[in-house]
């Protein structure tokens, strides 16, 4: 069973969201997602400064096997991306919830967060697959 930290929020498309408490969130893909994808070889991060709507495909992770879209879990502005992933996409495999983070968004409306899944609800999503 993969690891699902209780202090994060989730989407049913397997992104995790950390509330940084200052109106920004950090986003990555879950341990379950990286496990399904296998060895990652390329991460295309969004452009800093872009505005995204919740549900927009805004990044791509590619494993040897396949490419997979990452969706913006909340609306807002992209303020940071993980530059380490350019040379070391495998960080997503080795530390999905930590060093493998992908980008940060400054939220347009913090209420967005309440619509995301909590750990328990996400665990149910994974269990159904």
């Amino acid at each position: 069973m993969s690891n699902i930290p209780s202090d994060l929020r989730y989407t049913d498309s397997h992104e995790w969201i950390r509330d940084n408490g200052d109106g920004t969130v950090t986003i990555g893909i879950t341990d379950h997602a990286q496990e399904q994808l296998g060895d990652l070889v390329f991460v295309e991060t969004p452009e800093i400064g872009n505005t995204v709507e919740s549900g927009d495909a805004c990044a791509v992770v590619e494993s040897v096997k396949a490419a997979s879209d990452i969706y913006a879990p909340v609306s807002g502005e992209i303020i940071e991306t993980n530059a380490e992933l350019t040379d070391s996409p495998e960080l997503v495999n080795s530390d999905a919830f930590g060093e493998g983070w992908i980008f940060q968004i400054r939220m347009e409306d913090e209420d967005n967060l309440t619509q995301l899944l909590d750990a328990e609800a996400y665990e149910a999503v994974v269990a159904e697959e």
Binding site: G38, D39, V41, F42, E44, V60, E62, V64, K65, A67, T86
Partner: protein, 363 residues
Amino acid sequence: MSQRTALHEQHLQAGAKMVDFAGWDMPIHYGSQIEEHHQVRQDAGMFDVSHMVILDLQGPQTRDFLRKLLANDVARLKESGKALYSCMLNHQGGIIDDLIVYYLNDTHYRIVVNAGTRDKDIAWMQEQIKGFDTELNERTDLSMIAVQGPKAREKMAGLLSDSEASEALELGVFFGKQIGTLFIARTGYTGEDGFEIMVSNEEAPGLWQKLIDAGVAPTGLGARDTLRLEAGMNLYGSDMDETISPLEAGLNWTIAWEPEDRDFIGRNALDVQRGRDDLRRFVGLVLEGRGVLRGHQKVILPDGSEGEITSGSFSPTLNQAIAMARVPASIGDRVEVEIRGKHLPARRVKMPFVRNGKSLIDK
């Protein structure tokens, strides 16, 4: 439910992630596809390829039948055990399947075809075999393990008696031989040296375990695909199919045009195609920057004409994306590949990309 090979239990024990492949429940990897890839390039790995289809053809007219059935010519096989790679074509010159045929003796040949094409292959052969005194038998009693890598032969030979080991190590490239209870062939689909071993279903799990004990790592179909791509070897269903002739799949070398009076199926169609100057070229591509090439991505030539990637992936050995593509004959050294709406520069290279552990591509 998916079919299972005789090694199914061994895969689960080794922690395999199983997927459906051509109706078979097969290991895609046992943890890390990239590590398994490197293991084969640097040491030795093994694949369960028991889903592939082994067919024995026996009878006085077997050779005549195969000389009609296949685009390559089995009459080239003079020494017992020698193998040949060939396409089996339809009347339009399209590829029904690619296969390996072993010449065992004048009345006995053995063929290995792809799992995904089993039903249509056998149906086609049964149709064409009419009138020839030869009989086709599927060897479902046999499993097949491919042991590949620079240390593969040595590690496999270590499991055999001294006399069997020397027989196995003396096998020339593309030769196979019944050695004790095993049919051992010096063939493969990775660009490395090694053996493909046919073994009874009963003996297969024991042999697999002995190979693990000898330090041969179980390797999944995921790594098999990146290894064969680096080695410049075509994959049926991706790089060619029934609408593609060998002339547009980089397989001209597998067509035996001589002798001219050998009337193999598809010959007339190929003869016509051969004279055309608009045949598409089958080429290797390397992506210059970051990203991953994938099948069906569009290839754009400087003159605006377009081709398509037939198979592509990330090459663990080269640490960059590589692909095979079918493109217009006007191709030069540089192209662009469309990836998610962006046009990224790629370079045309000669295949194979990698052979015997070494990159053949200029950086």
